[in-house]
Symmetry: C2
Subunit: 127 residues, 2 copies
């Protein structure tokens, strides 16, 4: 096989294309995407902003700021801190926060599934 | 209405969430996304890498490099230049380039439509 033969480029690719997909929500100046989704999911699971931040390798201050900016931007309370503050009594999601996490999780999962299905339909024989 | 009353944050948001979605293809070290898609679409429509680059506010060199890197990375020829070179005789997409643009366009459009539909299902009553 000659090194510079353009036919070399026409051989079937060793590796197929894989579809990539990302979803988010837009409102005002703050988007709701994977970062805030996983942060709120961890607040829900661990009952604490501090624990959630730790799990994500973020500082407490960064996590708290991320949540507060979203709340302010959207006019919705997402997290409630218990008596003693977050570092004392822990934190829970508000009903609005819970609904947002639940809906976004479903939305994200469905779109990712459809993305793979649509890719298989469109690229059935390989591009 | 008191300025610091947390109830202020609970009023219905003035603006609803809008879904955002982005798709791409992954293979090797180079992704096929909107940038390369529109570049190849413009090569198809204008019959020239130089014209396509101009339409996208890119230099000819940047556009050419983007196409060549993708071809090398995936082992597929995407663009053919005619006698006289691209600046002389123009450029056309190879069958593989045409198929990739066509399939990606369909894939992108379908996923975006489903993204909006899925959002409406999941967030029917607003988060």
């Amino acid at each position: 096989m000659k090194k510079n033969d353009p036919d070399n480029l026409k051989r079937p690719p060793a590796e197929p294309f894989r579809p990539g997909c990302k979803v988010w929500l837009e409102k005002g100046e703050t988007n709701f995407g994977d970062g805030l989704y996983y942060l709120l999911l961890n607040v829900h699971d661990y009952g604490s902003i501090a624990q959630a931040a730790k799990r994500m390798g973020m500082s407490y201050r960064a996590a708290w700021g991320k949540i507060k900016r979203a709340e302010k931007s959207w006019g919705v309370l997402l997290v409630e801190t218990q008596v003693g503050g977050d570092l004392g009594g822990g934190a829970t999601l508000t009903p609005e926060g819970n609904k947002l996490v639940k809906c976004f999780g479903e939305f994200r999962e469905k779109v990712e599934r459809v993305c793979q299905e649509t890719f298989d339909e469109c690229f059935g024989n390989g591009p």
